[in-house]
């Protein structure tokens, strides 16, 4: 059975794009439109990789990332952040949450800024799936 990749993004276009890249490379895409649903699907499907957006309505990617990386059963799943937000900004917001008393979390395995070339995304996914 092919490896599962969870795509969390509120933009349907992005989901279609990412899912196509996942499929074209021989993996199975699963989709969620926000952080809240993302976490549910994550726990149920236990994917091999997560492609995560940061700014989303309902629960944001920032929050989902923290929950994933502080959950013993989930923290082994590699995460590729795919966002319009700069990596610097994302890390700063994580640092701020840590300073507010949350548990510190490691940096994401990969960080890609939108717009991303499909070849680059495929190369990045292969790192964790092969």
């Amino acid at each position: 059975m092919s490896k599962k990749v969870l795509i969390v993004d509120d933009d349907p276009d992005v989901r279609i794009f990412n899912a196509t890249v996942v499929e074209e490379n021989g993996y199975t895409p699963i989709e969620a439109a926000n952080g809240e649903d993302g976490l549910k699907v994550l726990k149920k499907e236990m994917p091999d990789l997560v492609l995560l957006d940061v700014l989303m309505p309902k629960q944001s990617g920032i929050r989902l990332y923290r929950e994933l990386k502080t959950d013993k059963t989930l923290l082994g799943i590699p995460v590729i952040i795919l966002s319009g937000i700069a990596k610097r900004t994302f890390l700063r917001s994580q640092k701020a949450l840590t300073e507010f008393g949350d548990k510190p979390v490691p940096e994401p395995e990969s960080y890609l800024e939108k717009p991303v070339e499909p070849e680059d995304l495929a190369k990045e996914m292969k790192k964790y799936l092969e």
């Binding site: 933009d11 276009d13 992005v14 279609i16 794009f17 196509t20 700014l55 319009g84 800024e113 717009p115």
Partner: protein
């Protein structure tokens, strides 16, 4: 006493003085017995033997002299330790008794007990010494030098007066401990000033607390002969009338005890030192406060000008120098403030001085202009008051704020806010554009995949993505243009109801697709007016779109969702539009951010500029926008635009 030295008379007074009766004494030659331990000639005996002055002098020392009253007689005042309890002082005269031919036939001695007088004199002497000491201590304490030197002087006086080994003062600290701070030189020299009793710290604490002196003796004291061995320490509280427990004075005597008088005196001195220290502290406090106030006035950002009761300037701080352009030197004591303060300020101060205001109440801040030394008019805000003490005018004080400075600060603030807004806008825009670019990338990728695989479905999806992102790009550009362009409303005759109807028709399709009803409630009172129809149209489009979205996003699925557009006419030729929905409503957090750029609750669907553009358009049209919203129940936006009636329709 007869020629043979035999007592012939011993009167009652002698009996009383000596305790020896007349029968016991008369007929004997034991006249020495009541006075001395062993036999020795009395003055009368010496006279009978007609001894020389020289011999008498030898026997009685300097205390004896020839009587001025009786020829051949002698007088002396002598202390007889054997007499009475503890001895008596006696003044006595001895004179020869002569016969008619001048030969000595006997001698007579008269004695006067002067003990009481002597004691009184001694007392007097002691009192004088005490007084002298107190005087010198008071003088030392009031000397025009530092507190350290004054107390040092007093300490030396105390030591000399008591013949003390050492005198030192322990001062109470804020921490509750005592610090040895003043002492006579001897105390500091090695070998002088002994350590006190082991419990000394406790004694000092107790003396300070109870305000009662204590004496501690180290060594032996023989009560019978009054001899002591080893040092004695007196601990005297130092306190003032209002401040108790300032410290404790320790006086060490190498030998001998402290008399009650000495202790009493030391208590007085302790109070005096306390008062001196208290005064010094008060003085320091006053000096410190006055220095602080001086600095405060000097560094104040407001110009402060104070006058005495004759309008002479007494305070003119650096801020006042900056505002008025005079230097303090030009003004202080030289310039009548009425020469340079504007009429309004003077009148305010005067009315203040006449009014029966509570003491020192300031006038409210008032804006006016002052004329600086250069002749320049400078806008200021001022407040002034008359200074009173016991209802007597002492002078005036006025405060001036330089409004040039405040206006400059306001401008700076506005600029920095603008910069921040630009930064935020650029950041938000970059994010928005990145997402759109990503959409284009995705679209072209899907088209590529579709072409490669000959997969029409992928091709179609990719093409749709590209089209959607073209729309998103044009929306963003349109919003940005209308936001950034300074646009004057173009006024023309139009029908508000017709504009609202057009918007409802345009959006009815989208609404219908999402099961949202669009309801029109238009007022008949509305007639064609002069306003900018494009502004109104654009605003209503934005608000009705938002309202439909609020219904689409509303999780309450069992609701019949409605967007209602209401038009009405308000007094003063105001056209009002209400856009009401029963959708999701807004939280306070969302309401707070409503009109800030690139804030959107719609995810990718919104540019985050819609309400910002709407509020800008409304502002340009001199209208207003209000919002009422309850989370979970819905939102109403209220637009109000001022309108003019066309000439023909105007009443009159």
């Amino acid at each position: 006493m007869n020629r043979d030295h035999i007592i012939t008379h011993w009167n009652q007074a002698m009996e009383k003085l000596t305790g020896h009766s007349s029968p016991e004494m008369v007929g004997t030659n034991r006249q020495w017995a009541p006075f001395w331990e062993s036999e020795r000639p009395s003055m009368g005996d010496l006279i009978l033997e007609q001894r020389s002055d020289h011999e008498i002098w030898n026997l009685y020392g300097g205390r004896c002299k020839n009587s001025e009253m009786i020829e051949g007689g002698y007088e002396a005042e002598v202390f007889f330790p054997k007499l009475g309890h503890g001895g008596r002082w006696c003044w006595f005269t001895a004179a020869p008794l002569k016969s008619a031919d001048g030969s000595v036939i006997g001698a007579i001695e008269t004695l006067l007990d002067t003990t009481a007088i002597k004691r009184a004199q001694e007392e007097q002497r002691l009192r004088n010494r005490e007084l002298t000491t107190l005087c010198s201590i008071y003088t030392a304490l009031n000397a025009p030098t530092t507190l350290q030197e004054r107390i040092g002087g007093a300490v030396l006086e105390i030591r000399d007066f008591l013949g003390a080994e050492s005198v030192c003062l322990y001062m109470a600290e804020d921490t509750g401990r005592f610090d040895l701070r003043y002492f006579n030189a001897c105390y500091a020299e090695p070998g002088y000033g002994q350590a006190g009793p082991a419990e000394e710290p406790g004694i000092i604490k107790q003396v300070s607390k109870t305000d009662k002196p204590q004496v501690h003796h180290l060594g032996t004291h023989d009560a019978v002969n009054g001899k002591t061995e080893g040092p004695t320490f007196a601990y005297i509280p130092i306190s003032a009338k209002d401040t108790q427990g300032i410290g404790v004075m320790r006086i060490e005597k190498e030998s001998g005890l402290f008399s009650a008088e000495e202790l009493h005196l030391l208590d007085l001195i302790g109070n005096r030192i306390g008062a001196t220290i208290e005064n010094a502290m008060l003085h320091d406090e006053v000096m410190r406060k006055s220095k602080f106030q001086f600095k405060l006035i000097k560094s104040a950002n407001e110009g402060i000008i104070a006058t005495d009761e004759k309008w002479q300037t007494v305070i003119f701080n650096p801020a006042a120098e900056r505002i008025f352009g005079y230097s303090a030197q030009d003004v202080l004591g030289r310039k009548d403030v009425r020469d340079y303060l504007p009429q309004l300020v003077q009148e305010t101060l005067l009315s203040n001085s006449e009014a029966v205001l509570d003491a020192n109440e300031s006038s409210p801040w008032t804006e006016t202009e002052i004329t600086a030394s250069t002749g320049e008019s400078i806008p200021v805000r001022f407040s002034g008051s008359v200074l009173r003490e016991n209802k007597k005018n002492m002078g005036t004080v006025s405060f001036f704020q330089d409004l040039r400075e405040i206006k400059r600060l306001e401008r700076d603030l506005l600029n920095s806010e603008r910069l921040a807004a630009v930064g935020q806008t650029v950041a938000g825009m970059a994010h928005c554009i990145k997402n759109i670019l990503h959409g284009f990338k995705g679209g072209s990728y899907l088209v590529d995949v579709g072409l490669d695989r000959d997969n029409t479905e992928k091709l179609r999806t990719g093409w749709a993505m590209i089209q959607r992102n073209i729309t998103r790009t044009s929306d963003l550009v349109m919003d940005l243009l209308s936001y950034s362009k300074e646009r004057e409303p173009e006024f023309e005759v139009c029908d508000p109801n017709a504009i609202a109807d057009d918007v409802c028709e345009l959006l009815d399709g989208v609404a219908h697709d999402h099961d949202v009803q669009v309801v029109k409630e238009f007022s008949d009172a509305i007639v064609p007016v002069i306003m900018d129809p494009r502004t109104v149209h654009r605003c209503l489009m934005n608000l009705v779109t938002n309202a439909i979205d609020a219904c689409i996003f509303d999780p309450g699925a069992d609701k019949v969702h409605q967007v209602t557009v209401v038009t009405s006419r308000e007094a003063g030729e105001i056209i009002r539009f209400d856009v009401r929905d029963n959708g999701s409503g807004m939280s306070q957090e969302v309401k707070d951010k409503l009109f800030s750029s690139f804030f959107s609750t719609k995810g990718v669907k919104g540019t985050g500029l819609g309400l910002l553009v709407t509020s800008k358009l409304v502002e340009e049209h001199k209208g207003s926008i209000d919002v009422i919203s309850t989370e979970g129940e819905g939102t109403t936006f209220i637009l109000r635009f001022p309108a003019r009636l066309p000439e023909a329709d105007r009443p009159g």
